[in-house]
């Protein structure tokens, strides 16, 4: 019974254990270079997926600009560490300071874009975040050579390659702790209540704008942290990497892992990164084109299988959660967390837009405007 209290922290424990094992390995017999790169990549992907899940899964808003926040973190954090290099050297202190700076600047961006953008819902918010990501990318691409390297990319001090992954693990564990703690507090409940029913949340006295902003800021903070880690794992960062395609890649991890499920995000991000890297090393030469093809087919099949209303009964029969519940002899209808199956999550892709030919607006808008003002 005692263990139940720590149920939410299982994944954190496991990751800590893995981190310790790897650290011991690396201190002892040493790790392959490629293992270290892979670890760094996976950790960055997991941080990104978990932080995006906060917005998409728990808040229920679609964000397509996560890579934009990462970009801000990567550039600002990387630049900061480059500036501090003469003073702090390539030390852990420099690394930690840059991570904090990068994260904070990304969080600030999250607040700046979030404050006005959160008035918008669903698709509109999605396209605004997408636009934000592209704007950030474009701005960093065209900065001067001295400031952020422009098209040539920003040179960042690559942190001691043997140890970066340890710090990345620590950052990941902190991310997990913060997100888990947040989601299991009254603030987290407020955020999920907005996802489930915004109107009822307002009527229950939840300050919707404030909590949306919280979720947005925390999410972009960790995206920024992931960005700084990314800039430390590379010598040279180029903003063209942070386009909407990358944001979508993160979104795919979140969706496949199960929206609103932190563990799912961790597993999906790990697997996708691992498989992609393996594909890239196995399928070379003429086979390289098969990478994307396989990826696309798997993606489509998983989504259709997991969501088609026609396959509902089939899924019920083979539901993993229920199977587990059977093994544990739990009542499957009892839940202890806010993790829900993702086809039930009402991500607010707003559906009340009309297909219209009318150029003029009708009067109904006036009511709406009142509502909007209220919503502010």
């Amino acid at each position: 019974m005692k263990l139940k209290k720590f149920k939410h922290y299982y994944s954190t424990f496991i990751i800590t254990a893995i981190a310790v094992i790897f650290t011991v390995f690396s201190a002892g017999i040493g790790l392959e270079k490629s293992t270290i790169y892979l670890l760094e990549k996976i950790i960055i992907a997991v941080i990104l997926a978990v932080s995006l899940n906060l917005v998409v899964g728990f808040l229920g808003e679609l964000s397509l600009g996560h890579a934009g926040f990462m970009c801000v973190g990567a550039y600002l954090g990387g630049k900061f560490s480059a500036i501090m290099l003469p003073n702090l050297g390539n030390s852990a202190l420099n690394l930690i300071a840059s991570i904090i700076v990068g994260g904070l600047v990304a969080a600030l961006c999250g607040a700046i874009i979030g404050l006005p953008a959160l008035r918008l819902k669903g698709d509109y918010l999605a396209i605004v975040t997408l636009g934000f990501g592209e704007i950030v990318k474009s701005i960093f691409q065209n900065t001067s050579r001295e400031s952020f390297g422009g098209a040539l990319g920003l040179e960042t001090p690559r942190f001691d390659k043997e140890q970066l992954f340890i710090y990345a693990f620590i950052a990941l564990i902190i991310t997990l702790l913060v997100v888990t703690n947040l989601m299991n507090s009254k603030h987290g409940r407020a955020i999920t209540s907005i996802r489930d029913n915004e109107i009822a949340a307002r009527a229950t006295g939840i300050n919707v704008t404030k909590y949306k902003l919280y979720a947005f800021i925390i999410s972009s903070f960790f995206a920024g942290v992931a960005g700084v880690l990314y800039s430390f794992s590379n010598y040279n960062i180029q903003s063209s990497k942070f386009g909407y395609n990358y944001s979508i890649e993160i979104l795919v991890m979140v969706v496949l892992g199960g929206i609103g499920s932190i563990n799912g995000s961790i597993i999906a991000a790990t697997l996708i990164t691992f498989i992609n890297t393996e594909f890239a090393t196995i399928l070379t030469g003429n086979l390289a084109v098969l990478q994307n093809l396989l990826y696309a087919i798997i993606l489509i099949l998983i989504v259709i299988f997991g969501n088609s209303p026609a396959l509902e009964s089939f899924r019920e029969k083979y539901d993993v959660k229920k199977l587990f519940a059977k093994i544990r002899k739990n009542d499957p209808s009892t839940i202890n967390s806010d993790e829900a199956h993702w086809d039930k999550i009402p991500t607010k892709i707003s559906m009340d837009e009309l297909f219209s030919l009318d150029v003029t607006n009708n009067d109904q808008n006036s009511v709406l405007n009142i509502q909007d003002k209220e919503g502010k």
């Binding site: 293992t35 098209a151 040539l152 990319g153 590379n234 890239a280």
Partner: protein, 386 residues
């Protein structure tokens, strides 16, 4: 009891995961080599594939020739090529997997942006590389990196000199890609070095807008000389769109990115009325000497699609490594990358002259103290004006 089983399972699972990842690091990867392994990373797929494939083919051709002639003291060479899709983030993985495959010396990366990553990574381990085509000025910034092609800055300077000489007092146009490493690098140096009495009309495009150049063409329509430090695909689109707008006696002048423009499927360069020329170190229409032989052999084996200076440069880079290694009297096939690098550095810093090059007009090639190449540049006219 049940808990215990669970915990045990968990620990086993973790141990299994870790064993997948963890190998025995820090060992000598080259200990089991039976051939000298040359590594490279380049775009073998994707829009820039023509460059990567050119280098790969050229290098393979050179290695086959060397091996057929008995290799280096009887030891053969082997090329390990990895695909980076012109994406710098893939380089670290490629680099480490190459090291684990026993790479002793390398051709670095084919394109500039990924090569920035390679430069730093290879410096960590002291792996010698000579890139056939990554032209960024920073590529030879450490003593283990050399270029077979002209650096961007030098290309920009050469173009600036040419323009200052021939177009003083006139208005010329520049069309470059503002979000591209290569394009920017050349343009910056060009702008810095061009004489002040040449008036420049700058136009740019970006990755996202690389389909329609109407407004840029409109801005450049009165220029008689247009400098285009860009890759050939957008250049071909530009030329097709501009052929009726820009005066037919105008000159398009590009850098090594133009190479291969006449080989694009469906793009008929003869229909472009303007002169298309570029700064190059390889004359793909050469009819005599070593260059002609290379062209013949290459065409027989791979066709003309990728016959460009990248292929020639890849071919030359392998020969340069071979000549330097034989000059340094390397005789241990399991020599570590770092030891080999020290030997090669000694050669390259000690006035090593690379002979029988197919690039650089057949003259000897040498490297200056900064690692930049010294060879003959030619203004190569791809197509005369009508």
């Amino acid at each position: 009891m049940k808990k215990l089983v669970k915990v045990l399972c968990l620990i086993m699972a973790i141990a299994m995961i870790c064993s997948c990842f963890a190998g025995c690091g820090k060992k000598g990867y080259t200990a089991n080599n039976t051939k000298y392994v040359i590594g490279m990373s380049g775009p073998l797929t994707g829009p820039a594939a023509i460059y990567g494939l050119g280098v790969q083919n050229g290098a393979t051709l050179a290695i086959e020739e060397i091996n057929a002639n008995g290799g280096l003291n009887g030891v053969e060479f082997k090329l390990e090529a990895t695909d980076d899709m012109h994406d710098a983030t893939k380089v670290a993985t490629n680099y480490s997997s190459l090291l684990e495959k026993g790479m002793q010396v390398s051709l670095g990366c084919v394109t500039s942006a990924p090569c920035a990553e390679w430069t730093n990574l290879s410096n960590e381990d002291n792996v010698f590389f000579i890139t056939p085509s990554a032209s960024n000025d920073d590529v030879p910034k450490y003593d283990n990196g050399y270029q077979m092609c002209f650096a961007d800055g030098n290309q920009g300077k050469a173009a600036a000199e040419y323009v200052s000489e021939n177009y003083a007092g006139q208005t010329i146009g520049v069309f470059y890609k503002s979000d591209d490493n290569y394009s920017n690098g050349i343009f910056e140096q060009f702008k810095e070095n061009v004489s002040k009495d040449v008036k420049i009309i700058e136009t740019v495009f970006t990755d996202a807008g690389a389909t329609s150049f109407d407004s840029q063409i409109n801005a450049l329509k009165d220029c008689k000389f247009i400098f285009m430090p860009i890759y050939y695909t957008p250049a071909s689109i530009f030329m097709t769109q501009a052929k009726d707008v820009i005066a037919s006696d105008a000159v398009y002048y590009g850098c090594d990115g133009f190479d291969g423009i006449d080989a694009i499927e469906g793009f008929d360069i003869k229909k472009i009325p303007q002169q298309v020329s570029m700064l190059s170190h390889f004359n793909s229409k050469a009819t005599d000497g070593k260059t002609a032989k290379f062209i013949k052999d290459y065409t027989n084996k791979y066709g003309t699609d990728t016959l460009n200076q990248f292929a020639a440069s890849g071919y030359d880079s392998v020969y340069a490594i071979y000549q330097a290694m034989s000059a340094a009297k390397v005789d241990d096939v399991t020599i570590s990358a770092s030891d080999l690098s020290d030997k090669l550095k000694e050669q390259f810093q000690g006035g090593f002259k690379f002979k029988d090059a197919v690039t650089g007009g057949g003259n000897d090639v040498s490297w200056d103290a900064n690692g930049y190449v010294n060879k003959t540049a030619i203004k190569f006219i791809i197509k005369e004006a009508d």
